[in-house]
Amino acid sequence: MGVIKSVVTFVLLGLAASALAGPDIQTWKLDNGTKVLFVPARDLPMVQLSLVFDAGSARDPEHRSGLAGFVAGMLEEGAAGLTANQVADGFESLGAEFSAGVDNDMAMINLRSLADSDYLDPAIELMQKLVTRPDFPEASLARERARAIVGFARARQQPDYIGKIRFFDAMYGKHPYAHQTEGDEASVKTIAVDDLKQFHKQFYVGNNAVLAIVGDLSGKAARTLANRLAGTLPAGNSATDIPKVSLPAASYKKHIPFQSTQTHIFIGQPGMSRTDPDYFSLYVGNYILGGGGFVSRLMDQVREKQGLAYSVYSYFWPLREPGPFQIGMQTKNSERDKALALLDRILRDFVKNGPTDAELKAAKQNLTGGFPMRIDSNKKISGYLAVIGFYDLPLDYIDRFIGNVEAVTVESIRDAFRRRVHPDKMVTITVGG
């Protein structure tokens, strides 16, 4: 059992309206280095938690892309002598929901359970076995590899998947963000039990872990739970830095013929990191460009004014290192060139001139006025805790959100976009007939 090294409770101050305050986050570290973030939520008898490791697909070894995802996915296949059937029975007979998966940075192991200890305790015990003592049975691995191959074939029926692969490949080259989290046919075939065991041993350790808990627990009960779930992980070492991302030196354009009625368009480049100094200028700017639902420039000009697409958007996906900035849409094949020209014009105009005062005002109204919806469920709060813990964001990140949005100006958006978004160096992938 770990012992609590420090307990820090942040009480929120300084916001105009108490209704706009974020949750009261308690945080401490276990002996093995696991960072715990906890928010009590006593009005529903449930617990939502995520155990996160710095063990996403960026940690895949060369020629083993998909390994991180296999490790997370294979936890359920057996642990401490329990079979996959016993594991599944174990959670589901308690009504508990267990899931595990990876993105580029994180491996995320999630549990939702009733808070009553008759349900919660056995679910935690089972999850602890999966995370600390997975068996990675050879036969299960063979079956999951075969299922993955079928999954790849199904995915390749769709132009969107083909485009995504080529887009990331062109944007990131040799960087570990280049490959898909699920790997590919060739890499998956080579994944062996020893690879899983080695990866798990290296990365599923206390100094590489964050535990986010939201639920109907006292502070004391949360500490007991954290120790029981994660306290027996070996301390190990935190993962080393992942390589820096470099921007493509020149634009890259590629069309991939595909037998579909629509052409899928991917335009982008590496964008921003989770701790980027330009984060809020790029975030608010992107809301105006293509992130803001029905009111963005892309939606207005491509869909509402031209009827060219059902879905058109842009996003920054912030990761440890700069994740992708992407503009995307799909249109019938005959409109491809028109759509490409329009997207290029909209992007260049936005980078050159930035938003109008009216657009910025509307964006701020939406982002600040909608703040309560960001934290209106245990599930959403738990997601924030995981991100805050994983990326070492300030504990009052949620409270400062409104102030950070308000501080953005037309000039800061224009400046950030001009420095960070380069229309002449975009990767452009089109897939279609």
């Binding site: 998909g66 996959a84 359970s113 299922r147 999954g151 199904r154 029905f294 009827g307 509307a362």
Partner: protein, 459 residues
């Protein structure tokens, strides 16, 4: 590797047991003089409110030749009223910090906003306005019709499994409108006129054909008074006569195939079954639990025995939605594992169906399903949107939302004997329809036949 499966499963087969229950304490209702029914679910966990307007009109109401019209009209509802310009609805909601959208189903068309709680009047003002003041402009209509055709291309035309699902419905139903895709057939999407849209709006958009559901940090008395203020003056309108042909009883097995460029085969089969509210509720609850026995998670039979056990399937699922205005369908679907054929997959699925008819379901399996329903009741309360959805859907299909109160009890009452009985009664070959995707090479230039599928939703 499983993301696509999850999306498909969520779209096609969602066992009702996992939708679970939601107890209805703290729900209040009132009906205005003009027939608008208002239901308020209090949930004071966050200073947030969800407002949803549900119209009792959907694909089920559409005649031949006008398929997809409910969904196209849903898009046009954002295109302006006598006092709002196209897109202004969305701009106002956005400036209030709100999130909004709409969705169309077989049985309903619904519009929603999620807002900080003090902004509820904005939602009411705008929804009341477009309930009676929508304007119809030819050029806005033409653009939006093009958007919807792109939506169909995206969700269905270029997705071989969606095409297969669409073809399944067209085979399983011979006359009932559930045979048509919610998004509509492409030929119909090309043929709709502005006058069709006007007529559809005038047929169905009236307070007496709508339910207003509000969930969140609100006081019912205040919501009722606000609703009276904004919706109270809307006149009652006579809605069109519903003329929904009944599906004749199926007497022999049906089969169809979809040939489309693809790499992996896909199999769907289904049986006609009853839904709640038509005197066969006991059967419906038993069928719900049966769906949970087959596919209520990783411990359920299909994953345990077909994916992990015999490994004949790369994925397999079962689903049954016992809540609908029209008839029900108990479905199974799957993708064969590498090196296995559709015939082998089908045989394994049919063995599972036979087993339901021969053997009693074990107590452990029943216990697991009941635990899941109990937990889902609690988990469901973590989302006000979900709570509002449940109420709106049930009301719109004609079920009292209080049905939810008894849900867990009714599930608990299901016995192994009853489950075997309903399996023997409904899961029979003469009542069965099967559709198979036969992949065609993807490198030829022959254009795929536009055979249709169920897209919906504005976003």
């Amino acid at each position: 590797m499983t993301v696509m499966e999850l999306i498909r499963r969520a779209a096609l087969l969602a066992p009702i047991v996992l939708l679970g229950a939601c107890t209805t304490t703290q729900i209040h209702e009132r009906t205005l003089d003009n027939g608008l029914k208002i239901i308020v679910q209090e949930n004071h966990r966050a200073p947030v409110v969800v407002s949803q307007v549900w119209y009792k009109v959907g694909a089920i109401d559409e005649p031949e030749g006008l398929t997809g019209i409910s969904h196209v009209l849903e898009h046009l509802m954002f295109k302006g009223t006598k006092t709002l310009k196209p897109g202004e609805f969305s701009r106002i909601i956005a400036a209030e910090g709100g999130r909004e959208n709409a969705f169309t189903g077989n049985d309903y068309t619904a519009y929603f906003q999620t807002l900080e709680k003090s902004r509820l009047p904005v939602s009411f003002r705008l929804e009341a306005d477009r309930m009676q003041n929508l304007v119809f402009d030819e050029s806005e209509f033409q653009k939006e019709a093009a958007v919807v055709r792109e939506e169909r291309r995206l969700r269905t035309e270029d997705n071989p499994e969606a095409l297969t699902y669409e073809q399944f419905n067209a085979t399983a139903y011979t006359v009932h409108p559930y045979r048509h895709p919610i998004v509509g057939w492409m030929k119909d999407l090309e043929a709709h006129t502005l006058d069709d849209m006007k007529q559809w709006y005038s047929n169905w958009y009236a307070p007496n054909n709508a339910t207003l559901v509000v969930a969140g940090d609100v006081r019912p008395a205040e919501v009722f008074s606000l609703a009276e203020q904004y919706f109270g003056k809307l006149p009652v309108r006579k809605t069109a006569r519903r003329n929904i042909p009944a599906e004749p009883a199926q007497t022999s097995a049906r089969h169809s195939t979809v040939k489309a460029p693809a790499k992996v085969p896909y199999y769907i089969t289904g049986y006609h079954v009853p839904v709640l509210g038509h005197g066969k509720d006991e059967d419906v609850y038993a069928l719900s639990v049966l769906a949970g026995v087959l596919d209520g998670g990783n411990s359920a039979r299909l994953t345990r025995e077909l994916v992990r056990g015999s490994q004949v399937a790369a994925s397999a699922g079962a689903g049954f939605n016992g809540m609908a205005r029209g008839p029900g369908m108990f479905m199974l679907d799957g993708t064969p594992a590498s090196g296995k054929t559709v015939a082998e997959l089908e045989s394994a699925l049919m063995q599972q169906v036979e087993r339901l008819k021969q053997e009693m379901v074990s107590e452990d399996e029943l216990k697991r399903i009941k635990a899941q329903v109990l937990a889902s009741d609690i988990f469901g309360r973590d989302s006000v949107f979900y709570q509002a959805m449940r109420i709106g859907m049930m009301e719109t299909i004609g079920l009292d939302y209080r049905t939810m109160d008894d849900y867990l009890d009714n599930i608990k009452k299901v016995t192994p004997e009853k489950m075997r009985e309903v399996a023997q009664k409904y899961l029979v070959v003469s009542n069965q329809t099967t559709t198979v995707l036969e992949p065609q090479p993807m490198n030829t230039k022959s254009r795929r036949k536009p055979m249709p599928g169920g897209g919906h939703g504005r976003h």
